[in-house]
């Protein structure tokens, strides 16, 4: 089951932790659509409204996903001589993404119903 950690029990004390959980789901979704590298991923996130993102936000999340074996990486040398690290989603990653989608749909409906009351 996908879980977004909220530090401080029932109080929303740290938005960053919530955002990290959501971002992990978003990153998995982007990588699942097609193999991608860090900077391209950042641009895709920015294009989808995460304007304040910097590479420094994305990089630790990628490390975390890699450690949990939800994604794997492969280094490739580009034509300009630069090395780029491409990410792919693993089978476990795909399952985790599905769990996140179910969790998010539920959360979205629940939060919206409360906000509309």
């Amino acid at each position: 089951m996908y879980c977004i950690v909220i530090i401080g029990g029932d109080k929303l004390e740290n938005n960053t932790q919530v955002l990290k959980g959501i971002l992990e789901g978003c990153i998995l979704s982007i990588i699942a659509k097609e193999e991608t590298y860090g900077y391209e991923l950042l641009i895709k996130l920015k294009n989808n409204g995460f304007n304040d993102m910097v590479e420094g936000t994305v990089y630790p999340l990628l490390l975390r996903l890699e450690k949990k074996e939800l994604i794997i990486s492969e280094k490739r040398k580009e034509q300009n001589g630069m090395t780029r690290k491409y990410f792919y989603v693993t089978e476990t990653g795909k399952k985790e993404l599905n769990d996140f989608k179910i969790y998010w749909d539920k959360l979205y409906v629940n939060v919206n119903s409360i906000l509309k009351e």
Binding site: V54, E55, G56, Y59, P60, L63, R64, K67, R84
Partner: protein, 212 residues
């Protein structure tokens, strides 16, 4: 920090940021030869080189606070369980080292003085943990290789000055001869206890894991 600092083409603020990140990881007890450290080093070099070529500001790469960025990286590497396991492995390594010293002194001297055990442990503690603790707090304030070296020397001499009177007092008042073999048995028992706790955290751990 391997060859990358000298061999890559990073310059100016980009080189300083690279050094800051790597030295922060080391101050968090992530060795420079560790696989994770090497991976982060390579990734950082690639990211900062490409930023340097495109003249992207460093804040676009690491954010506004480099410490938060480094902490995020460390957290992605260390879960609480990993951290506990790492500390326990280090404690066992220290105990093995103490055991070796105690046995050597016992064999060549016939007995060991309590003050030697305590002084040795304190000095070892200073070298491995106290220096690191202060370096972690201060290292990002000292930019560049020269200033970081100054920072290390400053912490080292300040710690030695603080520790010196304590060690002198120990040598003076803990003048008690011990049987080195008994001390070695105590060390072995402690090693066993720590190993059992480690085993509970990670079943794959072996008695020699602390040397790796």
């Amino acid at each position: 920090m391997r060859d990358s600092i000298h061999n890559n083409k990073l310059t100016g603020d980009y080189l300083i940021a690279h050094l800051d990140i790597l030295s922060y990881l080391q101050s968090c007890n992530i060795s420079a030869t560790n696989k994770f450290s090497i991976e982060v080093d390579d990734d950082m070099t690639d990211m900062l080189l490409s930023a340097q070529e495109n003249e992207t500001p460093i804040s676009d790469i690491v954010g506004n606070d480099i410490k938060i960025f480094c902490e995020d990286i460390v957290q992605s590497y260390y879960s609480k369980r990993d951290k506990a396991l790492d500390i326990l492995k280090k404690v066992n390594f220290d105990l093995y080292f103490l055991l070796l010293i105690v046995l050597l002194v016992q064999v060549f001297e016939g007995s060991i003085n309590l003050s030697i055990v305590i002084t040795f442990s304190l000095t070892w503690l200073l070298y491995k943990y106290i220096l690191n603790f202060f370096y972690k707090k201060l290292n990002l304030r000292f930019k560049g290789l020269k200033n970081k070296t100054k920072c290390i020397l400053l912490i080292f001499f300040a710690s030695v000055i603080c520790l010196f009177p304590i060690e002198l007092t120990i040598i003076r008042y803990c003048d008690l001869l011990l049987n080195g073999y008994n001390v070695a048995i105590v060390c072995l028992l402690l090693i066993l206890v720590v190993h059992i706790v480690c085993k509970k955290l990670d079943k794959n751990i072996r008695w020699y894991s602390c040397f790796m």
